[in-house]
Symmetry: C2
Subunit: 411 residues, 2 copies
């Protein structure tokens, strides 16, 4: 009896859509390439060893344990048949749908320089975060064993590319590790030897935040010892360093946060997409000609009242997911268009500083950081995760110790 709703992607959009459909007769199938829902805003904290993977991720099937109309499939979608209303997975199986919500998210965009990817990982998944964490920790271990200060300098140099919230958060977080909390544990390397660069091609950082927040963010980074290079597009990335702005910065520690593009599955839909590969959707988030197929989250190009595309942020995805859940529930041919309510944006910069713009009230400093923390904890899914992150941060704040500095390679 129940109609099939297939949701591709267990991120904020997919999860919130499925939750809205609780206690309905719909049969929901969530398909994801990983088995867990990831709280991406805190991913940089796993990358800098402040949190464990388990603190910010929860198995999707555990989230829906009690919601019996949801089943979860670990799989990757390779094809969407709009006429047959069926999606195909990499393992050969296929799923029929009455409604399809595609919320597969985004990946990092290297602007055609795919070979940069190997030297400069992005931060989108738990594997990314663990890879970056390992590089950072190993670089400190290597530096510790090199007597000659000149020779060890590259290992104590870190380059973060991209001045958006992710880049700013990573740079601030590494500055904290390298200059304060962990240095007591080493005997040879000293905090003063560490150099952190944040590289941005445009004129300023935190583009998208209103004044005076970008300026405050910049000042905080500088106070923490981060060298911010503006108007500096990256020219070349090699295994041993970055060519930028007329200089070659020698380092193996390069992190990419400079551009995103939508998941390639969007290209399979045969519809108009923007420069970032995002689907150009209708007012109700459906695709042209298929009112039963929707795209939401980072993979969708949705305009705000001024005609600008909404940013790839968690609150946007959350609201779109809830909206679609309601659309499907009401099953009406008369659909009110999606309207995003901007409740504010925030970015943290290190241990007790952040910038926040909540409904026009602009905060910075310690209070913003507290607010950021509380809001992020609130949005974490699962009481257990909230408790753990809260406990982890309290410990970190009191002791300056970062919690999860483990190198545990899979051989």
């Amino acid at each position: 009896m129940g109609k099939n709703v297939v949701i591709v992607g267990g991120g904020f959009a997919g999860i919130s859509a499925a939750k809205k459909l609780a206690n309905t007769s719909y049969k929901i199938t969530i398909v994801d390439k990983t088995n867990h829902h990831l709280f991406q805003p805190l991913l940089y904290q796993v990358a800098t060893a402040a949190l464990s993977p388990g603190d910010i991720a929860m198995p999707i099937r555990a989230i829906f344990s009690k919601q019996k109309n949801v089943q979860v499939i670990l799989g990757e979608v390779t094809r969407v048949d709009k006429d047959q209303n069926r999606i195909y997975l990499r393992n050969g199986s296929s799923l029929p749908f009455h409604y399809l919500i595609l919320a597969p998210g985004a990946q990092y965009n290297y602007f055609g320089n795919e070979k940069w990817k190997e030297h400069a990982p992005g931060l989108k998944s738990l594997s990314d975060a663990l890879e970056i964490r390992e590089r950072i920790l190993l670089s400190l271990e290597k530096a510790e064993q090199i007597i000659d200060a000149e020779k060890r300098k590259p290992f104590l140099t870190y380059v973060v590319i991209g001045g958006g919230p992710t880049g700013v958060e990573m740079a601030g977080s590494i500055a904290e590790i390298a200059k304060r909390s962990m240095m007591r544990d080493f005997r040879n390397i000293r905090p003063e030897e560490t150099t952190i660069y944040l590289i941005e091609a445009a004129e300023g950082i935190l583009n998208g935040f209103d004044k005076p927040l970008p300026e405050k963010g910049l000042q905080t980074l500088k106070d923490m010892g981060v060298e911010v290079l503006l108007n500096s597009p990256v020219e070349e990335i090699r295994e041993d360093g970055v060519q930028v702005d007329g200089q070659f910065i020698e380092t193996p520690n390069i992190i990419w946060g400079a551009g995103v593009k939508a998941s390639p599955i969007i290209q399979e839909l045969g519809i108009e997409t923007d420069r970032m590969g995002r689907a150009m959707v209708e007012g109700d988030l459906s695709i042209s000609g298929s009112p039963n197929i929707f795209v939401a989250g980072d993979a969708a190009h949705v305009k705000d009242e001024r005609g600008n595309p909404l940013p790839g942020l968690a609150p946007v995805a959350l609201q779109q997911g809830k909206y679609l859940g309601n659309i499907i529930k009401q099953s009406s041919s008369n659909r009110k268009p999606f309207h995003y309510v901007d409740k504010g944006t925030m970015a943290t910069i290190g241990r007790a500083k952040a910038v926040a713009d909540i409904r026009g009230f602009k905060f910075s400093g310690f209070f913003a950081w507290l607010l950021w923390g509380l809001i992020h904890i609130f949005f974490l899914i699962g009481f257990r995760n909230r408790f753990r992150v809260f406990a982890e941060w309290t410990w970190h704040y009191i002791t300056f110790k970062r919690g999860v500095r483990l190198i545990a390679k899979k051989e």
Copy 2:
């Protein structure tokens, strides 16, 4: 001024020796292949997604953060020069020593069948535990997508080889996952479909525990639905299953816990070793002809009063480490021989059952499990880890939910 003490291995023996030498003029260097101290007794809980790596591991340099006479080097020892009193690392560097403590631990022994290792991982390191965890979680995900009950049976079959404490703990733990705590999250697979085998070549399990504990352990396993095969040496291990006792058990889920051998560095010492590759040491744990070179922990063959070798257990390594710390501190030519004080042994079997033999008092059931829990928490290094594991177990006990069911492969 300070004499060099080099300690190879950041396990229980190495760490406790270094701690004993706090506030002395000795200069201590700890060399380990990983950057962390691992609480091995709880490793099986990471393998079965009950705990996170960060709960049971702590960076060695963080343990000694405040002990300024300790430096930590991430490295692998390849050679010991007994005449020059120098050890050589894989990266080419070398370290001089006045005293050397070799506590490199043990690895799994496949009795010449090295190709079994790929299909049947052991459980000695965090990488091992994460590998096993991934296999278990993926097997459930795979089974969930196979409609035919016969075809999915192999994915819901688990084989643990070895009836010692590690094997028993793994088998009991998997039985818990597969038959209870996680099954609510799946829609197609059912607990009754799961089969867990514990395979032991000898007549009984928990050899080394006094009666009636082996019998109680066996009964508990059976009550949990584990099939225990005794007198059943493994004949062949393939990618798709295990040949044992006249039957072929078809499964990709095979875990090895059946034999250990000492780290191969012991062979570099040019001294007598036992069948397991352990160093035959003197009464003071030094090696023949070199009173300044010691071997401790799982890599040492040390006899008890009855002439039997001490087992490779955490309390043994801890006491040996402390003993050596004292020997070095006192720096006397007159050394009292090492004497192990047996405070008891325990093994847990699932959520609330264990067997324990404390100074001759034999416990089993719920009380033993509580005791086991408290003692393990006590021995965890670091207040933070103790709090986290306590919190994790409390949650698990109340909710039956296992905490860290994440598949996060490094691509």
